[in-house]
């Protein structure tokens, strides 16, 4: 297993909330795709049914932190400073995917953009933009 894969695996295994969500991830080189299989406890609107907005936000945020664990390996979990989540479409009762792009990684702070989709990558359901405080740097 590569260093990146080990770091990702360590992150996913260590964080209890990742298991609560049921989130996993696949790695191609240093590019990570996060996967959130549908589960009934993630529903926010039973009538549609649709994923809870908070679940989508949380999944995007965990995707950002997981991507940082791959590229900025640290024994400690990085800390989110702020996020803006934009919702484009309802999250339907199916698997959701997400990819994070590290737009800038500074000494202390990283700027991250994350995109989530379901059936088609060109029909995103939500975006996240945020800043993360990097731990382990100093």
């Amino acid at each position: 297993m590569s260093d990146a894969a080990e770091q990702l695996d360590a992150f996913l295994q260590r964080v209890p909330y990742v298991r609560f969500l049921g989130m996993r991830a696949e790695l191609s080189g240093d590019e990570m795709t996060a996967i959130l299989p549908f589960a009934p406890h993630l529903v926010g609107n039973s009538n549609l049914p649709a994923l809870h907005g908070g679940v989508i936000g949380a999944f995007l945020e965990m995707t950002a932190l997981a991507q940082l664990s791959v590229t900025q390996g640290s024994a400690r979990v990085h800390k989110t400073i702020d996020v803006t989540i934009e919702y484009l479409r309802p999250g339907r009762a199916m698997t959701t995917y997400a990819r994070a792009e590290l737009r800038k990684v500074g000494r202390r702070v990283a700027n991250v953009h994350v995109e989530a989709w379901q059936e088609a990558r060109d029909q995103p359901i939500a975006f996240l933009r945020g800043h993360v405080l990097l731990s382990g740097g100093s």
């Binding site: 209890p16 406890h41 809870h52 996020v83």
Partner: protein, 150 residues
């Protein structure tokens, strides 16, 4: 506490405990009054985001803020209930919650138009004057009978 119509209180109780994600996280309704709502989430081992510290995950706080904002919208609806969907949500995390401690959130829906509700929320662990996170959101208003017209 200012009274809200029974239908709003029933909806608030349903939102806080019967929505699957809310039930899974163990949300508890603290209070509801016109345009305002408060929900808490007790600490639980499986909701931890940092195993080194035992601090509850940011994602749990995200769900709590989003959900409490939705509750405040419902509480602003009065006797003409509507459902909401999140359009955007901006969250600032000022500090981590205390280890092994739950979080309480209070949201205020300060403006509702025919189509959009505007909400502010704050979250704290122990002391409401020492916040862990604040949020600002816009929610799409879905009125029954397709009544939503700008």
């Amino acid at each position: 506490m200012t009274d809200v119509p029974d239908i709003v209180r029933q909806m608030a109780e349903h939102m806080a405990v019967s929505v699957p994600q809310a039930a899974a996280l163990g949300f508890k309704l603290v209070s509801v009054e016109p345009g305002r709502g408060s929900i808490s989430v007790p600490w639980r081992e499986d909701l931890v985001g940092d195993p080194d510290t035992g601090v509850i995950a940011g994602g749990v706080v995200t769900s709590l803020l989003d959900h409490t904002c939705g509750l405040a919208c419902a509480a602003a609806a009065g006797t003409e209930p509507f459902s909401t969907a999140t359009l955007d949500l901006r969250i600032d995390y000022m500090r981590a919650a205390a280890p092994r401690t739950g979080v309480t959130c209070q949201a205020h829906c300060y403006k509702v138009t025919r189509t959009i509700a505007f909400v502010r929320a704050e979250a704290w662990d122990v002391d409401q004057s020492d916040l862990i996170a604040t949020a600002q959101g816009a929610f799409v208003v879905n009125r029954p009978n397709g009544a939503a017209k700008p």
